[in-house]
């Protein structure tokens, strides 16, 4: 009964959410793959991308109303700036917070606690520096309806998110499968010790992994911010959800993160057709707990190396 009339529009919303979850989830999964660390501060990498895109577009658009080619340029540049900022923050995070611990062979608990600390530090700092109210990214384009699927309207924003996410996911998948960098990541993920004996520079690979995850997370931050505004604590729930998605797909597994993100986005939105939206998180976390109970390695299993 509750599924009938808005199923397709909610499916489209779900896909939209799912692509963003997937982009963020990749950051968790990549880092987990090489370090076996839940990088709690990844949600702040995401947030930093949102802020960077916000500032760029605010400065660019001013009080004007962009259109045509300018709109395209704005979205592209915003995403790029978000990505670069996310990558930078992720890089610094690894350098300043995690590397000293790694050097010292600190216990795993120390990493997790540091990650939580970094997360709190970064979002509070952003709140301090940029103000504590959520801000809207200026209107970049007319969000017209493009076409309908079984009565569910597809808007420009849905296409932008799906298109850019697919492009980035594809590039990443090829990067990990084909390039030397990808080989290095897979080698470190499988066995860091052996990899280092074979001449792989582990520090560099880990840095690069953080940067790649940061690029995707930062880009997601901007794409998310277009529709949902940007605030200093914006990363908390999306981060949690994306981590759930990563576990759902099999943490450490790149394609798993993509699949997990999309699956979570869909299930969440289908779920709330029948119940109140306030139960959304319960659905997400119940899925997490059930998956962990019955298939702890996730839908696709846990190996980063296996994704290629």
């Amino acid at each position: 009964m509750c599924f009938t009339h808005n199923f397709w529009s909610l499916t489209i919303d779900g896909l939209n959410n799912g692509f963003l979850y997937a982009l963020i989830a990749l950051g968790y999964t990549l880092v987990y793959g090489v370090l076996q660390l839940i990088n709690f501060a990844h949600s702040e990498v995401f947030m930093s991308g949102g802020f960077a895109g916000l500032f760029l577009t605010q400065w660019w658009v001013g009080s004007g109303t962009p259109g045509g080619a300018e709109s395209i340029a704005l979205v592209v540049c915003g995403t790029a700036v978000g990505a670069v900022t996310g990558g930078t923050v992720a890089f610094l995070l690894e350098r300043v917070a995690y590397r000293p611990l790694r050097r010292r062979n600190a216990p795993r608990l120390a990493f997790l606690i540091t990650a939580i600390g970094a997360s709190f530090f970064l979002f509070s700092l952003a709140g301090k520096l940029f103000g504590r109210d959520a801000q809207g990214i200026p209107t970049l384009y007319g969000n017209g309806k493009l076409f309908s699927v079984f009565g569910g309207d597809v808007h420009l924003y849905d296409v932008i998110v799906a298109g850019s996410a697919c492009a980035m996911l594809l590039v990443l998948d090829r990067l990990v499968a084909r390039t030397k960098l990808g080989q290095g990541i897979r080698a470190v993920a499988q066995d860091a010790e052996t990899a280092s004996l074979m001449g792989v520079n582990i520090d560099r690979i880990i840095s690069q992994t953080f940067v790649i995850g940061g690029l995707l997370g930062g880009a997601a931050g901007f794409l998310f911010g277009i529709a949902n505004n940007v605030g200093y604590t914006m990363g908390f729930v999306p981060g949690l959800k994306a981590f759930t998605a990563a576990v759902l797909g099999g943490i450490g597994n790149i394609r798993g993160a993509m699949l997990g993100g999309i699956a979570l986005g869909l299930v969440e939105n289908w779920g709330v057709t029948c119940v109140r939206n306030s139960w959304r998180d319960v659905i997400a976390f119940a899925i997490l707990v059930l998956i962990l109970m019955f298939r702890p390695t996730g839908l696709l299993g846990e190996r980063l190396g296996r994704s290629a």
């Binding site: 909610l10 809207g136 604590t233």
Partner: protein
């Protein structure tokens, strides 16, 4: 090796600093009652509200309003004593409320308190103030239940949610031409209270409830909130498929902005309406002017800018705090002045007990409303006002009770 020495070096310093603040902390707590200017005694009016955390903006508005009232009273010089304001930060939460209340209760110079700003904080502090016989007048806590909890010193100098929700429904149906309303609350006590007040009147006004939902506050807006921002597109889908021609949102401005944005993005063209929690220019900023235009907002707060007597308040406020008065600044100003008017009649040695008993019969005409209470400690005349977003500005429409 290198790291350890830093710790060893830093720890004694840190400990020293802690010790230093500790010393200063203990010596700084008691305040002196007799060193006011001109040989007059100094009494303190407390303010309890959120000065930090997600709702700090509101608390600071109210604190500044109270401060202005006190500064003006001192400047006038017709009081038998001097007044000062003592702010206590409760972060707007039930948790932070008792310590804040105690810091005011424990200061024997505090003879009345303006606040708390929020309902939850009022609930958590009510007993403490009652036991201490200390007057507490909230300028903004609207949860109807509050007056039924047996707080003997509690007064609500603002209309409760029943003054706002029902006339909102009346207006939306009878004047704005809505027929099917989709009702969304934000799961907070405020949001749920307002939503149920609205819902109760809706069918009486001849409207239909197309659907209802609860969308929790999101982490984008409130630190630590559990709602996920991605709920709003699906909310928009639900609204559209329900066939509603209007949406009433019971919640705060930041999330309302996200909802409005999602609704307009999904092509929903109907009427949007919300209550005092959304009556903030940041709503327009967050949603984007194009999306926010046409939104109806009700508030128990009157529009100080369109108030014929408001000009001097605004200019005084601006010169004191370098910003325009915000939501509830004027209400807090009025409440503080009402308290001061009572103090005036109590001579040079007012006691807490005397203030509480005198306040029951206060009759003060403020900028925003007449402050005089019924036996239930609610305002005798409860009013709410209507606003509308026009061209990206929140503009005053009129007194809700007179509009419908």
């Amino acid at each position: 090796m290198d790291r350890k020495f830093i710790v060893r070096a830093a720890l004694p310093i840190a400990l020293g600093a802690v010790a230093l603040t500790a010393c200063s902390g203990s010596s700084g707590s008691g305040s002196t009652g007799n060193n006011g200017g001109g040989g007059k005694k100094t009494y303190t009016i407390g303010f309890q509200g959120p000065l930090s955390g997600g709702n700090a903006a509101l608390g600071i508005n109210e604190k500044d309003g109270a401060q202005l009232a006190i500064d003006q009273a001192n400047a006038k010089g017709d009081l038998p004593f001097k007044l000062q304001l003592k702010p206590a930060d409760d972060q707007g939460s039930a948790d932070g409320s008792p310590p804040a209340a105690r810091s005011l209760i424990g200061d024997s110079n505090v003879i009345a308190v303006v606040g708390p700003s929020f309902s939850g904080a009022s609930d958590a502090a009510g007993k403490l103030y009652s036991q201490a016989n200390l007057l507490m007048v909230t300028p903004s806590a609207t949860l109807p239940d509050l007056v039924n909890h047996g707080f003997t010193t509690f007064y609500r100098a603002v209309a409760d949610d029943f003054a706002q929700g029902p006339p909102d429904a009346d207006y939306l149906i009878k004047k704005a031409g809505a027929k099917k309303v989709f009702l969304i609350d934000d799961t907070t006590d405020y949001g749920k209270g307002l939503a149920s007040a609205f819902k109760g009147e809706l069918s009486k006004a001849g409207g239909k409830l197309a659907g209802s939902d609860s969308a929790p506050q999101t982490s984008t807006c409130i630190p630590g909130a559990t709602g996920s921002t991605s709920q709003y597109p699906s909310e928009a889908s639900k609204v559209k498929s329900s066939g509603a021609d209007s949406v009433f949102y019971a919640g705060y401005y930041c999330d309302f902005a996200l909802l409005a944005k999602a609704l307009r993005n999904a092509g929903f063209k109907g009427q949007l309406m919300s209550g005092d929690g959304s009556d903030d220019s940041k709503y327009v900023q967050g949603a984007g002017a194009a999306n926010a235009n046409g939104t109806l907002l009700s508030c128990q707060c009157s529009d100080i800018a369109s108030n014929p007597n408001g000009a001097s308040f605004i200019s005084a406020y601006k010169s004191a705090f370098h910003v325009d008065p915000g939501a509830y600044s004027a209400e807090s100003f009025d409440v503080t002045n009402a308290v001061i008017s009572v103090l005036k009649g109590l001579g040079s040695n007012p006691t807490r007990q005397a203030v509480v008993s005198a306040f029951a019969s206060v009759n003060y005409q403020g900028l925003t409303k007449a402050i005089t209470f019924g036996s239930d400690h609610n305002l005798k005349v409860q009013t709410a006002f209507l606003y509308k977003v026009v061209n990206g500005k929140i503009t005053y429409v009129g007194d809700l009770s007179k509009l419908v």
